[in-house]
Amino acid sequence: MDRDPHVCVMGEDVGHYGGSYKVTKGLADKFGDLRVLDTPICENAFTGMGIGAAMTGLRPVIEGMNMGFLLLAFNQISNNCGMLHYTSGGQFTIPVVIRGPGGVGRQLGAEHSQRLESYFQSIPGIQMVACSTPYNAKGLMKAAIRSENPVILFEHVLLYNLKEKIPDEEYICNLEEAEMVRPGEHITILTYSRMRHHVMQAAKTLVNKGYDPEVIDIRSLKPFDLYTIGNSVKKTHRVLIVEECMRTGGIGASLTAAINENFHDYLDAPVMCLSSQDVPTPYAGTLEEWTVVQPAQIVTAVEQLCQ
């Protein structure tokens, strides 16, 4: 926002309150309450507002207080955000960033524990990225704001408290690139967002047991970085996908199809995908924990695949 006066923020309680997860803390004090705008409660309206503002020259960052609320803005995201550059014959660009916390939290209830990346992935014209560490959150956010395409940046409710030493100076992360978290030889584990941390936890156990997993945080959910992924598959010949989406129609489902289609010849075993079950997330803490893939399950899956 310092660098470019066209960047602005809009959403519910993003102003003086600093956002429900404090992501926009201090911004209203610094940039004023028009540039960091508290909107009335209507996701469809303020998302549409951001899109129109982008058409006329601004670069809005639209916050969904929880990604699940953006279901109310689906019309705007699909028909306007995704399609306008195309249907206007290239006359208008929509350089918006739509961001917010999603994923399964701690007892937030079914409606507030959704994985919107599943539903949005088909929309032509948008890009989707998911951050997972303070380092890539900063880099991806900056890249998303500077992109001429509309970008949806998926944050995770349970990752806001992560602490990491990151460079003060400017850097951006490439929106279409996956991140090599841990190079390895035996198996490719593809993951993103919070599951990356579960995978890394499982990796410790796996290393102790003598396995050498290659962990890739795919980061770019649309389009997939098939270059990085492909090179890894060609090396290890086994793929495990660990995601938080539901089994049906999630990012994992699409990724499985893409890998099978493109790298079938390099696989020594079928692609395995660990996902959440096709159920609404229960409120009870114990039940909720079991809808999310746990490190123990990841370890078992790797052992199975590597037999």
Partner: protein
């Protein structure tokens, strides 16, 4: 049966309670004692352990904001959102006013200027351009409609009956104001200089179409002329506010469109943000086959403005002068005072909803005919323009034959022009086509190579 509460005012009731609880003798006495006897001071923010004292704290807050005399009219309560006065009567606001909101018009049914009518004057140049553009729009609509019926166009939607709304509002707006129309406002683009050829190119989806053949006919867009078919004027207004431009955004919609949630949210947003937007509703009585009686139960759309805190006006949409004045005044207010304005233009949809509709199936042909003849916006305005000596029969026939010729030529050229190249199916989805789209284009080209006879001849590769 509701029994009216006795003459006691609310304040008296409160104080009676206090008197009862705390043993004081007179109202004023009570307040003074409360303030002095409170252990934590009159407006303490600390929570008192003693429930009675807590009650006193709240009471004092309340009492101190009540007026000193006990007149029921002057009693107020400070709820969040501001002071409201009390009433001891139980009274429901009626669902509608006894009289409908009156409709502003300048010309009578025959095009004679009404005495005592107030309107923004138009010069001869503007009036003649307005009338000519209304005629052009009507002819354009006629010819495109016929072309669709002959199978030369896939689809078309006419604006018959809405010519005055289209042209007069465009004339009252500055060309730099961004317009977000629906689909019955091509006259706005026409006024701003979109040529008949450009209209034809879009309808035929050829390579000269600015939309590159991606939209169905009538969905015009022009960055240059600040016009794009899309319902998001609120956004544009926010943008204008941010950069401090002295302009407003304008959006058009119909009676049916006003039922969408977007409409209500947009009105609310612009009111809260004090954004300069004109909301122009073409209430033409029909949403495809749904009459307004099945669309809403309010007195039209104009009354909805007040619900959101927006100034509104109802205008005779078939009266070009009234439309011009209303839009002119509205835009001044919007820009000067940074506020949204709602304009309901009453009119009648003379044509069918589109070429996919036959409206005689749900309304009488007589009704359509009456509106077309007796309340025609073109004839009314023409009478007024002629009465000023600015138009005559010769100008009329010259104009009509010229436009008709131009239109037929435009169609002939548009029809013959090549379609957009295949590459445009994949361009502009993103700023740069990503790998998957490049792959998909290759697949399409491969398929065409193996089956060339199935590929249309007028779409270049």
């Amino acid at each position: 049966m509701v029994q009216h509460l006795k003459s006691s005012s609310s304040k008296s009731i409160l104080l009676n309670v206090l008197r009862h609880n705390l043993g004081f003798s007179s109202p004023n006495h009570a307040s003074r004692h409360l303030r002095q006897n409170l252990p934590h001071g009159p407006l303490s923010t600390r929570v008192s352990p003693n429930p009675v004292t807590r009650l006193c704290n709240t009471m004092v807050d309340t009492l101190s904001s009540i007026g000193s005399h006990e007149d029921a009219n002057s009693q107020v309560m400070d709820f969040p959102g501001g002071k409201v006065s009390f009433t001891p009567q139980i009274h429901f606001i009626s669902e509608s006013n006894e009289e409908r909101v009156p409709c502003y018009r300048v010309l009578d049914d025959n095009g004679q200027q009404l005495t005592n009518s107030r309107f923004v004057p138009v010069s001869e140049e503007v009036a003649v351009k307005m009338y000519s553009d209304m005629v052009t729009l009507q002819i354009m609509d006629n010819i495109f409609y016929e072309a669709q019926r002959q199978g030369r166009l896939s689809f078309y939607a006419t604006a018959f009956g809405g010519e005055a709304i289209n042209i007069a509002s465009a004339a009252a707006l500055s060309p730099q104001y961004f317009i977000f129309p629906q689909y019955r406002e091509p006259g706005v683009l026409l006024w701003r200089g979109f040529t008949l050829q450009e209209f034809a190119n879009q309808c035929f989806g050829n390579k000269s179409d600015y939309g590159k053949g991606r939209q169905m006919p009538v969905h015009y867009g022009s960055n240059k002329l600040n016009y794009f078919t899309l319902p998001n004027a609120v956004d544009a207004a926010y943008s204008l506010k941010m950069v401090g431009k002295d302009a407003c955004a304008v959006t058009f919609f119909g009676d049916g469109g006003s039922s969408e949630g977007d409409f209500h949210a947009a009105l609310n947003f612009t009111a809260v943000m004090e954004a300069p937007v004109l909301f122009i509703c073409r209430n033409n009585g029909w949403a495809i086959s749904t009459p307004t009686s099945d669309q809403f139960r309010s007195d039209g759309v104009v009354v909805k403005g007040r619900a959101y805190g927006i100034r509104s006006i109802r205008v005779d949409g078939n009266d070009a002068l009234a439309m011009y004045s209303a839009v002119h005044e509205a835009r001044e207010m919007a820009v000067r005072e940074h506020r949204p304005i709602l304009i309901e233009a009453l009119t009648y949809r003379v044509g069918h909803h589109s070429t996919s509709d036959d409206s005689t199936r749900y309304r009488s042909a007589d009704e359509i005919e009456w509106w077309n003849k007796a309340r025609n916006p073109l004839s009314r305005f023409r009478t007024w323009v002629e009465s000023n000596g600015w138009w005559n029969d010769e100008s009329e026939s010259d104009l009509r034959s010229r436009i008709k010729k131009e239109m037929l030529e435009a169609i002939r050229v548009a029809e013959k022009t090549e379609k957009p190249i295949l590459n445009h199916m994949f361009s502009d989805v993103y700023d740069v086509p990503p790998l998957n789209l490049r792959e998909q284009e290759l697949l399409v080209r491969q398929a065409i190579k193996s089956h060339p006879q199935d590929y249309p001849s007028d779409v270049p590769l």
